[in-house]
Structures are given as C-alpha cells and as structure tokens.
C-alpha cells in the first residue's frame, strides 16, 4: 500500500519523515523550491500495515476565498453587495505548484494521512489538502495524525493511532474565513470610498477594517481618552511609625486614604488624643510565593513583551521556529495544566546538561521535582508550552529564538519546582478608633525563583517583637498627602490581556491584529517614560492596567502586599506604550458617536462571533446558521453606518484636520 502524508510546513514533514523512516528516506524535489517529497517505508501497524510512504507538505493554507471578478471595482457594485455576493474557493496563485504536487502524488496512493498542526486552522488546511488530493484520486482513505510536538516517541505514537479530520472545526474556520472576507471587504471599501475624498492625509492611506482590528484599536483609543481626560485629585492619609529595637516599623492606615482633608484631620486628632496605641493582632505565619502556572500562548506573549524585549508577534514567530526545529512543543495552546500521564521528569532530565540551568534541573531530578500546578484551561488539543530537548544557544538562529527558548525552559523548570517560601508577620494596632497595620516578610527558601529570573520576591525588614494586648505610644504619627495620577497608556501586555478577556482574536492571532493596527498607522508605539513626582500610583482598583503595569513584582503585590516595594518601580526597561494616531481616534470616535447599540469599536460583536465559532466546533450550531446570523448583524451595522456617515466624517474633520466647525 502507498500512503501520502502531508504536513503543514516543510520542517514538520522533514522531522516526521526522519522519525518514521529511521533516517533512511529518499528525498525528491518538487516544483516548489521549499517543498521536498520524502519516500520511505513504514509500518503503520494494524491500520494500514507495511506501506510505502511519500511525506510532503504545504506552506500553510493553499486555497483562498475570493469574490468573482465582477466585484473587483470598489464602488460598483456597491460594497454592501459583498455581504451576499457569491464567493469561490480557489487555489492561491502562489500555491498552485504545491497543490499540483499533492494532486500528482495522490494518484499513486491508496491512502492520505494529514499531518497538519492540531488546531482549528490546521484542521482546515487538512481539509484543503484533502480536496487537492481528491482531484488526483477520489478513492483515497483519509486519516489524520494527532500530535503536539515532534519528539520521536510522540510522533511514532501518533502514526500508530490515526484519527479522522474534524469536520466541525473545518466548518468553523471556513465560516470565519467567509465572514472575515465579506465583512472586511465591505467595510474597508466603505471606509475608503467615503473617507479618502476628504483628502489630506486620508487620500494616501489604506483605510482597512477588520472585525478584530477595530475592537483592538478601540481599546487603545479608550485608554487614550482615559489618560487625556484624567483629573488628578489630592488625597490624605495617616502614617504611624514606631521605632523599636532600632527598627522603624511603618503602620499603614486601614482606610488607606480619604479624598477629604478635613475628615482626615478629625480622625488624626482623635488618634493623638488617644495617645496610646493598642496591639490587637500579632500573627506570624508561613507564606509562599506561588510558582507560575504552565505556559499558555497568551501568557508567553505577555511575558515576552515585558521581559524579553520583543513584541508578541516576534515572540510567536520565534516560538514557531523553535517548534519547527523540535526544541519546544506546539506554541499555540490555551492549556495551562499538564496531563497527569505526561513524563515531565524526563523532560526536566533533558535540561540537566545545560550550563545555565542544568544544575537546577539536576536538582529537580534528584528529588526536588514537584508536579506542576493545574490551571483551569484545557483546549484538549495541546499541552502547555514546554521544552522538548535541550538546545545550546549556539544552535539557535538568533537572539529572539534564544530568549524565547530560555524563557520556555525556565518557565517549565519553575513549574516543576517548589513554591518560594517565607515567613510573614502581621501586626494590627488600634490607635484611638483607627486601625493600622504593619506587614513584614522574610524570604526563607527561594526555590523556583532561582531559575525563574523574571520574578522577584524581596523580603522586608524583620519586624521587631510586639505582643498581643500591648500598649505603646507611637513614635510618630503624621498626615501624608498625595495625588492621583492618570492611568498609563496600554502596553502590549495590557492589550493582549484585554483582547483575551474580551474574546478578540485567538491566542494565535492576537499578535497579528496588534501588528496590523500599527501597520495601518492607527496606533503608534512609544517607549514608556518614567513618571516623576508621583507619590502613589493607585488610580483605580478596576483599572485594567493594574494587572499589566509595573511588571516586576506586581504578582507578589497583588497576592499579599509582599512585593509592594518592588511594584512601585514601574516602567523603563524598553516597554512600549500604545497611543492612537489622529486617524485611529477619528475612526473609533466616529463609530462610537454614531450611537447605535454596538459600535464597531467595541468588542461585543466580534466576541459574539468568536463564541459562535466555538459553538460550531462543539456541534451546538452549524456553519450556515452562524454565517446567516453574523452577516445579518454586520449588514445592519453597515446600513446604519451609511446613514450616519456624516458623523464619521465629522469625527475625521475634528481629529485629523483639527477642524471643529465641521
């Protein structure tokens, strides 16, 4: 029997051929310079038995969806016709030789085995391959290999346990492709036709619309206005300090701060009147700083933008290459829990040879190993991102790959080690009617922190002894004054978090959307500047920025005030902030001011669409239903936008031409 195997990219085809053939395969060139056909024998076991295998690959998608040529003109037929114009699936022009190769190879084969990446896109590419192969031979048996990394045993196991292509995922992707095409084209033409004539800078720009791009831009504009409109306000607090055993113990006020000076003075005076403070709680207890969760794509991108001096897009590209070379597992995953059956010790062992973290890894192998924490997400397709084999930095191609690889390994080793441990002391005092609190931490065991250099945990001074019920006269108590400061502009990590929380894009595509709004000159990035003279940075507990700001130490801070000292040190370090351009502001403001229920600048419509895709994958709805519903929604928005076009134009005049009269 002859089997045709097709992978999503050449590197995977090569690696799989290598494993299956045991290194004994013949290599033939195809018409495409990147695509090779590897021929060898392999025993698929009970399924197909001993076979002659041709292993080849595609380069991602080979087909695309297009409108017929009569829709080429941007004005006629009018863009709204694109919502229900016919569409055709065609082989992309630059992929015809790849499709031909598959068609030809299929002629000699009785079976086809798909080796595309195991995610939604991969499933659809698998479908495209099937269609191309069927043109050569429509009696093929079709199977699919399920794998998430290209380590040898894993690949051999996948080859012996073939499954079927999942039509539901194929349908979900095909719905997404069609929606993106119709909606993207219709609104892009709408924007260009109507706004370019305004002239000035608009005449020469690409004014594209994408259902993910716009909400992403919306987040940036939203934050921009929050920064711009912000009004600082003074606040007051009471600080109590007591010196004992040569240590200054600072107590913070349980009210934290009040936005009224007179009230603070009244409360302060009552503290002074009481004279003595009364210790109401003394507690010493072990505390920990938790090791990180297993690594997901979104988390990797966020960390990369914070600590690895690269954008999410660059991190994804580097990770993709590392995966293609077999150094790390599949980098597109939502899973933050390792399957209990996975042999993680083995993977740790492989890192023991490294001269940077080898010793740490050996320590884990010798008994320090801990089963990683289990997160709550499981995409049922891929494990968390982890290293497969050790790679010395000399075998990696560039600095991006080195940094990402190092991060993946350190993260993985951190997951497999113990939490950092410390001792926390809490002292509460009642001073007059007011409660004050002091907190101290001593770090006892660093554990995972030794390898996970991206996090810090700094102990504070040891607190002197206080006894329960004790009365003392505080050394000093005074009123402090501060001012609220505006939130920061969004960082890429903030933006990814917002997209993630609001269902904009998938973990795999977020970075592309972020890149897109920069390419379109809707937003610009600038290095974050340190702010001066800020006494306290706590604008608003609900602020989405909180999680993303400060970076270092922030996690400790949110868990137990432990890292409070460090979390103040914000910014610097090459973190970029996103600021909308005038064009970006005009577009979002324009759509927001049109005032229909769901502006295109808000995440709601897109989120709905994303949820529908999920429903298709889970078999709860069908491709056609989703297409009809979503197209109807966007068509409605289209007509409303057309009706209120002058609002959009006015926003452009106001922000781009600085002309308020229009």
């Amino acid at each position: 029997m002859r089997v045709l195997c097709v992978a999503e990219k050449p590197s995977i085809a090569k690696a799989v051929a290598q494993h299956l053939s045991g290194g004994r395969s013949q290599t033939h060139n195809s018409r495409n310079k990147y695509i090779k056909n590897y021929v060898f024998d392999y025993d698929f076991g009970q399924e197909w038995g001993n076979c002659t295998v041709t292993m080849t690959s595609v380069l991602g998608h080979i087909t695309e969806l297009v409108f017929p040529s009569e829709y080429k003109d941007w004005r006629h037929p009018p863009p709204e016709r694109l919502f229900d114009a016919p569409v055709n699936t065609v082989i992309s022009e630059d992929k015809t030789d790849i499709a031909n190769n598959i068609e030809q190879q299929a002629r000699y084969a009785q079976a086809l085995c798909i080796w595309t990446d195991c995610d939604r896109e991969g499933e659809h590419i698998g479908h495209e391959i099937c269609e191309a192969a069927k043109k050569g031979n429509n009696r093929l048996q079709i199977k699919r290999a399920k794998f998430s990394n290209i380590e040898r045993a894993h690949i051999l196991n996948a080859a012996r346990n073939l499954i079927m292509l999942d039509d539901k995922q194929v349908n979900a992707v095909s719905a997404r492709i069609e929606l993106d095409l119709r909606i993207g084209f219709a609104f892009t033409r709408f924007l260009s036709n109507n706004l370019k004539p305004l002239g000035g800078p608009l005449a020469n720009l690409v004014l594209s619309y994408g259902s993910c791009q716009f909400p992403t831009l919306g987040f940036v504009v939203d934050r921009y206005f929050r920064v711009k409109n912000f009004r600082p306000e003074p606040f007051w607090s009471i600080k109590v300090m007591h010196r004992r055993d040569g240590i200054d113990v600072n107590f913070t006020w349980s009210r934290h701060r009040l936005f009224d000076r007179a009230s603070v003075i009244v409360l302060y005076e009552r503290c002074l009147l009481a004279k003595m403070a009364h210790v109401t709680k003394v507690q010493e207890k072990p505390t920990k700083k938790w090791r990180p969760l297993p690594l997901t794509t979104v988390e990797m991108q966020k960390m990369a933008t914070r600590f690895l001096r690269m954008s999410g897009q660059q991190a994804m590209e580097a990770a993709e290459k590392l995966y293609n070379k077999g150094f790390i597992s599949y980098p597109r995953t939502e899973t933050d829990r390792f399957d209990i059956g996975m042999n993680l010790r083995d993977l740790v062992q492989k890192q023991a040879v490294d001269n940077r973290w080898g010793q740490f890894a050996q320590g884990l192998v010798d008994g320090g190993f801990q089963q990683p924490r289990q997160g709550r997400h499981d995409d049922k397709a891929h494990p968390p991102i982890h290293p497969i084999i050790n790679a010395t930095s000399s075998v990696l191609d560039n600095d991006y790959e080195r940094r990402v690889y190092e991060f993946v390994v350190r993260r993985f080793l951190a997951c497999c080690s113990e939490d950092a441990k410390g001792m926390a002391t809490d002292i509460d005092i009642l001073y007059g009617e007011e409660l004050f609190h002091a907190h101290g931490v001593i770090v006892l065991e660093r554990n995972y922190l030794d390898v996970y250099v991206y996090e810090k945990w700094t102990g504070t001074a040891i607190l002197p002894k206080f006894s329960m019920g004790e009365r003392f006269e505080p050394f000093e108590a005074h009123i402090t004054e501060g001012k609220t400061v505006a939130p920061s502009y969004l960082t890429e990590a903030d933006l990814i978090s917002l997209m993630d929380a609001n269902g904009i894009g998938t973990d795999a595509t977020m970075a592309e959307h972020i890149q897109k709004i920069q390419d379109r000159e809707y937003v610009a990035t600038v290095p974050r500047t340190r702010r001066q003279g800020v006494e306290e940075e706590e604008f608003d507990e609900q602020s989405p920025a909180q999680g993303g700001r400060g970076g270092r130490g922030n996690r400790g801070a949110s868990r137990g005030r432990v890292g409070a000292v460090v979390s103040r040190a914000r910014g610097g370090g090459g973190v970029m902030e996103f600021i909308p351009t005038r064009l970006g502001v005009a577009l979002i403001e324009g759509f927001d001011r049109m005032n229909f229920e769901t502006s295109l600048g808000k995440p709601f419509l897109r989120k709905e669409m994303e949820l529908k895709m999920k429903a298709v994958c889970e078999g709860r709805t069908s491709r056609q239903v989703v297409l009809n519903e979503s197209i109807d929604q966007y068509r409605q928005v289209y007509f409303q936008s057309q009706e209120k076009l002058n609002v959009l134009k006015a926003a452009c005049r106001e922000y781009i031409f600085q002309n308020n009269g229009g």
Binding site: E269, P292, D540, E541, Q542, S558
Partner: protein, 252 residues
C-alpha cells in the same frame, strides 16, 4: 373629633417606637381619608411611612422634638456628645474612599451601557434592571486566578467595599446641618443604598468632633425612607456635580 383622638393614639404609638412626635395637626393630615379609619397598628405604620418620606424641617415635628445643640458645627470644639436622640434626614452622601474622577468614569461607563469586571467589558442589559453588581475586578494575575474561581473579585453583595468611608450631610428638624462621618463602617450607608431624605436617629452619646458628627453602628439607627424629589435631583445632578468639583468639562 374621631380623627383627632386617633391622631393622638398614633402619636403615642410612634413615640413608643422611639420616634419623635410629629404634631397632631400633621398626623391628622397624614391619616388616610377613610371612614372608618383602619385599625391603629395599620395607621401607625402608614403615618410612620409618611414621616419617613417627609421633609422634617417642614413643621412636621412637635416643637419639643430634639434637635442638634446650637454650636454643633463649631470646629473649635474638640469633642462633645449628643445629649438626646435626634432624628435627622440625609441631604447628601459622598464616598471619601473613591476619587471623584473614579466615580465620574464609573457613571460614564454605565451611561454608555458598559461596565467592566476585571478586564472584561460587559454590556449592560438594556431593560434597565441592574442586577449586575459593581464588579471590583480584583487585580488578579495568573497567580491569583485559581483562588477566585468565578473570575469576579471583590465586593460581593452590596457593591460597597468594607473599608469605605462615607461622609453625609445630615439635617435636623430645625434645619441645622452637620457633616456625619463614618467612624466605623455602617453597612447601609452607601451611594445607591442610602437614600436622599432617608431618616436616621442619631443616639444620645454620639460624638461630635470639630463640628463633625461621628457615625458608628451603636449610635446611628437608620430608619429608612426617602424623599423622592430630592433623591431624583441628587442622582440626576450627580455627574455634573462630580465633574464640577474636579474642574472637568461638564459638556463632555
């Protein structure tokens, strides 16, 4: 005749509930126009509800009803205590824990039909029912996420966090006004939970410091009620007042 004697009975009834006595004339006016009148207990409840909804400065209470001492708002006085229980009505409420601007942003988000829980932007239901609690999305990082399964952090229930401090403007039956500062947290006090015009009895022994009445659960009995017109005006004008205070452009 009958109404007058009923009014007296109602007055007694209110008095025995610890409420100051409204004048007989006011009670008569507040009695339902029915003959025969409903039973006494129902009448007392009715009149009490009227009292809670009335502006007490408007010749409602008997002239003997307790009011604040004359110098209550004097900032020179370090500390004094109320000598009698005083019925007051709420004129204004301010959450001193939140900046004005933070409150402005919240109000504007709600006006846009949005709210956030954590990082997620939520569309509010359009039918006007606000079951959505004000989600104080905790600043969860991945570390915390296992600790808060619902994905929602912070203030459950009332929407006003535990360590909030409010300042009220309180008015007695003579029209004297004084600031009331939450010395210890009182659960019912919160923007949206305490009404404008709501009645409070501040108990004898309550501390007045530097002209500010200090409120704590032991000296502050919240009686309920509201004055609809005041409440509406307060809420309608809230955003504008907040913006004016911080000097923001009120048109926007």
């Amino acid at each position: 005749m009958n109404r007058l004697s009923k009014a007296a009975e109602v007055q007694n009834g209110l008095h025995s509930q610890g409420l100051p006595s409204p004048t007989l004339a006011w009670i008569q006016n507040a009695l339902p126009n029915r003959d025969p009148l409903p039973p006494l207990l129902a009448l007392i409840a009715t009149v009490k509800a009227r009292l809670m909804a009335a502006d007490i400065t408007n010749a409602v209470l008997d002239s003997s009803a307790p009011s604040f001492p004359a110098n209550i708002a004097n900032p020179e006085v370090k500390e004094t205590k109320l000598e009698r229980d005083v019925l007051v009505q709420v004129l204004d409420i301010d959450n001193l824990t939140k900046s004005k601007w933070e409150q402005v942003e919240e109000l504007e988000a709600i006006a846009r039909g949005e709210q956030t829980t954590g990082r997620e932007m939520i569309r509010l239901p359009t039918n006007g029912e606000e079951e959505e609690e004000l989600g104080y999305g905790s600043l969860a990082t991945q570390n915390l996420s296992t600790a808060r399964p619902g994905g929602r952090g912070g203030a459950a229930g009332s929407g006003t966090p535990k360590n909030s401090t409010h300042r009220l403007v309180l008015q007695d039956c003579k029209g004297n006004k004084v600031y009331g500062l939450e010395l210890k947290r009182i659960d019912k006090i919160g923007i949206g939970t305490l009404n404008i015009g709501e009645k409070i009895i501040v108990k004898k022994g309550a501390i007045v410091a530097r002209g500010v009445l200090l409120l704590e659960p032991s000296t502050c009995v919240i009686m309920g009620g509201k004055i609809d017109a005041w409440q509406k005006a307060w809420f309608d004008g809230r955003l504008t007042r907040l913006k004016e205070t911080v000097g923001a452009d009120i048109r926007g």
